[in-house]
């Protein structure tokens, strides 16, 4: 390391203990001015905790922080902002009914009256300088995830951030939006800003960062120059073992048909057509991947199958029974399990891990004794799932919201795949998971397939869809552009279909 530059952030010997876990164990973390520094690590490695300490949300139990060479104690986010530190959280914290400009100045001191003009000028200045295009007048709910993120970035810049922390910024974005974000980040770094970037995606880390720090179980494993390392090494450092990126997929004889969809139509939240005439079939032991750019009806499709959204036309059959527009309960009872992309619609953050694990099965006879819950049975079920799915949690009674992002996802997957589903709908099952966990989930889905489950997989990650699926259905603006086998695929053809520029005849519709 060249020692002349004073690190803009220097965290030394940081320790943070939560009940039951040592989230940060004497962490030394240095960031140079003007660099993009990636922070890598498994789920629960302590990345968010470390950044929350830097941003003043948590106080460390030990260690010290130097900002631009000066020792500081950061008591609150407001003090962090005064030091020029900004943070974009994984879940956006914008007021959706307000405009972009309002959100940006909201909560600023001395802004009793809304200084609209000044705000708008500043926003435009940032837009030009960093390529952060947003309309200051737009309401937040009208914006895509990528645009909302830009608002969060401008909000941080508006508050004078020179050090920007981004916690898993890409997990909600489409590939195109990720590219745009990287352009913005590079520009900001060129102008002398410093960026700390948390991600699980090694390709992204390789593409955008100057240096990488790898955390494992709360400790720093290594800090490396990105140019002098490679994906495999990073994965090994993170997980502590070799990670196989290719996995074995056995030939499976397809069984009888489990899911049949005929000419399905459904509307989105604004009442506009989101799904138009979708027909597809999935057999026992088959994984059908839905590929497409985010926002082309994937969410509406899976919600309609799960009974959370009424169908406005067409039919859905599971194992020969029609379930079109049936109640979610009736559909659950047909052994349909559902991992939605939006985790919060399927979890109760305030309640314990155990209570979240039984959300779908709490009616089971084995969990009930007379009038009461059979607590012993429920607890042992929870312990079993926590162990089998390697959920890192201090206790089974810990409120779910205190778990790390990846562990929250594991809780949901444990619940949804442990119940021997006939049909498993998995939307973005690996978003926010570390490489080790992704490998694990992939194997889990393949195991389900071998067990004879029909799997409907929605993924924006084409590599994931291709690796796991037997067939790929490409969706564009709510219509299926075609269904192709996933072996010997023509990537270019899929790309064209995703862009709506190419359509295959769908043989299944008339069958």
């Amino acid at each position: 390391m060249s020692e002349e530059v004073i690190p803009v952030v220097s965290m030394r010997g940081i320790e943070k203990r939560f009940p039951g876990v040592l989230a940060n164990d004497r962490v030394d973390f240095e960031v140079r001015p003007g660099e993009i520094h990636a922070l890598l690590g498994e789920n629960g490695a302590g990345k968010t905790t470390l950044m929350n300490i830097l941003y003043g949300i948590y106080q460390p139990d030990g260690g010290e922080i130097l900002i631009r060479g000066e020792s500081v104690v950061i008591h609150s986010p407001r003090e962090a902002i005064e030091l020029g530190i900004g943070m974009v959280h994984q879940h956006f914290r914008l007021v959706t009914s307000h405009s972009v400009a309002e959100n940006i100045v909201l909560g600023l001191p001395g802004n009793l009256f809304f200084p609209e003009q000044a705000a708008r000028e500043k926003i435009e200045e940032f837009s030009d300088r960093y390529n952060l295009t947003v309309d200051p007048e737009a309401r937040i709910w009208q914006l895509s995830a990528g645009e909302q993120q830009r608002v969060e970035i401008i909000k941080a810049l508006y508050r004078g951030a020179e050090i920007l922390i981004m916690d898993e910024p890409t997990s909600m974005l489409t590939p195109g939006e990720v590219e745009d974000l990287f352009t913005v980040l590079r520009r900001m770094a060129n102008e002398g800003n410093t960026i700390i970037f948390i991600s699980h995606k090694l390709d992204e880390v390789m593409a955008v960062s100057d240096r990488v720090t790898v955390l494992r179980q709360g400790r720093v494993e290594a800090t490396l120059e990105t140019a002098q390392t490679e994906k495999r090494e990073l994965a090994r450092l993170m997980v502590g073992r070799e990670v196989l990126f290719r996995i074995e997929k056995n030939e499976i004889k397809l069984g009888e048909e489990v899911l049949r969809i005929e000419g399905l139509h459904a509307l989105n939240d604004k009442g506009l057509p989101a799904i138009s005439g979708v027909s597809l079939r999935i057999a026992r032991g088959e994984i059908l991947g839905i590929a497409g750019v985010a926002g082309n009806g994937q969410r509406e499709l899976v919600e309609t199958i799960a009974g959370l959204r009424p169908a406005t036309g067409g039919h859905i059959f599971v194992s020969g029974h029609e379930i079109t527009s049936r109640s979610p309960r009736e559909i659950i009872e047909k052994d349909v399990c559902f991992v939605p992309g939006e985790r919060l619609t399927a979890l109760v953050p305030e309640m314990s891990v155990t209570e979240n694990l039984i959300l779908k099965t709490y009616r089971d006879q084995r969990f009930i004794r007379g009038l009461f819950f059979n607590t012993r049975e429920i607890n042992s079920h929870a312990d079993d799932l926590i162990e089998r799915y390697a959920v890192t949690t201090p206790t089974r009674d810990t409120p779910l919201k205190l778990l790390s992002g990846g562990n929250i996802q594991r809780v949901m997957l444990a619940r949804e795949t442990s119940g021997k589903p006939a049909l498993l709908i998995a939307a973005h099952p690996t978003s926010g998971l570390d490489v080790g966990a992704i490998e694990y989930i992939w194997q889990l889905l393949l195991k389900e397939r071998e067990r004879g489950t029909a799997v409907l997989l929605v993924s924006e990650d084409l590599e994931e869809a291709l690796t796991l699926s037997d067939r790929i259905a490409v969706i564009f603006e709510g219509e299926l552009m075609g269904i192709v086998p996933s072996v010997d695929t023509d990537l270019e053809e899929i790309g064209l279909m995703m862009a709506g520029a190419h359509r295959l005849p769908v043989p299944e519709a008339g069958e």
């Binding site: 609150s76 005064e82 109640s327 953050p349 959300l359 969990f367 009461f372």
Partner: protein, 362 residues
């Protein structure tokens, strides 16, 4: 902000247990301070006023017995409200459900004056429960089917219930021997609840209240129905996803919440007045005060037993100072309103952290 110490407000990630416990107590103390300022403005020494209130409510065996008497309807209604509020169903119409319960029990008692106690008494409680429950499920149905705001509907149903009682006691149910008062005739001996020696404590209702507190606590924490209620309150979309029926949960919650308010009404007519009277004569706003009971108890049904005693004491003490200090009858409403405001505010503040930031720290 340079040079001035500034207040900072931050959201807490978790509310520590001790704070959850202490927050309502602090809120209560602050409310009393605020009320004290009002006393001061009225030219009354607040310490003296509080002493009077305390003595009135707890200082004598008569005062204490009256405190228990008032805590009975507050307890029953408050327990029901903990359940409704856990499901995030803002039932503020418990007063109406209480009045309907009282009306139903009265109807039964008046219709069958010669039935024996073992028959009429349980039936009065049952029909009172059913009446309150039916009144309570109206806002639940409207909410689940057409998304009508329950705050408005449940409140409006209070006025309907109140007018119904007025109509009955001034009209068809008016007792001929009551010398023109808006009262029904007195219930038969069999339809009167027994009381504890010289007091007005109708102990069967009190026992029912305490037993129900435990039952509701177990329902909420140990059964699948309680689980459904809690999930629905915490995250309605997760409840839907898990196949829980919103309608069913609301109905369950409001059958119990309305029903318990109905029981409170039965206790008043069968244990205190032995007849139905004009609405204010039956309940001086127990259904509204019970909202405070539920919140002060942090929506814990067993806690509601204790907080109902506290608010019962405040009602009795409030009566005492109205007489001894010559305060207007509305004083007690000012009291209650102020307390509710502080309790709700305290709840909010417990979730945030306020720090004084001096210049040196920045």
């Amino acid at each position: 902000m340079n040079g001035f110490p500034a207040l900072e407000v931050e959201k807490r990630r978790t509310v520590p247990r001790w704070l959850q416990f202490i927050a309502p107590i602090i809120s209560l103390v602050l409310a009393l301070v605020a009320i004290g300022i009002i006393f001061q403005a009225l030219g009354i020494d607040p310490l003296f006023a509080y002493e009077e209130i305390f003595n009135g409510a707890f200082g004598s065996s008569y005062g204490f017995s009256e405190t228990v008497v008032k805590s009975i309807p507050l307890m029953l209604t408050g327990i029901g409200l903990t359940l409704a509020f856990r499901a995030r169903f803002w039932n503020i119409g418990a007063e109406g459900q209480l009045l309907i319960g009282a009306t139903c029990a009265t109807g039964l008692a008046l219709a069958f004056p010669d039935w024996p106690r073992w028959l009429i008494m349980p039936l009065m409680f049952i029909i009172g429960f059913i009446g309150g429950a039916l009144w309570g499920i109206i806002p639940a149905l409207l909410k689940a089917r057409w998304r009508v705001d329950e705050v408005i509907t449940s409140l409006m149903l209070v006025y309907i219930a109140s007018n119904l009682v007025n109509y009955l006691v001034y009209g068809p149910w008016k007792g001929p021997e009551e010398m023109g008062f808006p009262y029904t005739s007195k219930f038969s001996e069999a339809a009167q609840l027994p009381r504890l020696s010289w007091t007005r404590i109708h102990y069967p209702t009190l026992i029912i209240g305490i037993v129900i507190a435990v039952v509701i606590y177990l329902l909420l924490t140990r059964t699948k129905w309680g689980y459904e209620i809690r999930v629905t309150g915490e995250n309605p979309s997760a409840a839907r996803y898990a196949g829980m029926s919103y309608l069913k949960t609301l109905l369950l919650v409001m059958i119990i919440s309305g029903g318990l308010a109905g029981l409170a009404g039965v206790g008043e007519v069968a244990g205190i007045h032995f007849r139905l009277r004009y609405p204010e004569g039956i309940s001086p706003g127990y259904g509204f005060t019970a909202i405070i009971v539920a919140w002060l108890a942090r929506l814990n049904p067993i806690g509601a037993v204790l907080t109902s005693l506290l608010l019962g004491g405040l009602l009795v003490g409030g009566d005492a100072i109205q007489i001894s200090l010559g305060l207007p009858g509305a004083t007690i409403f000012v009291f209650n309103g102020t307390i509710l405001l502080f309790v709700l505010g305290g709840d909010l503040f417990a979730r945030y952290r306020i720090r004084v930031k001096s210049k040196t720290e920045g």
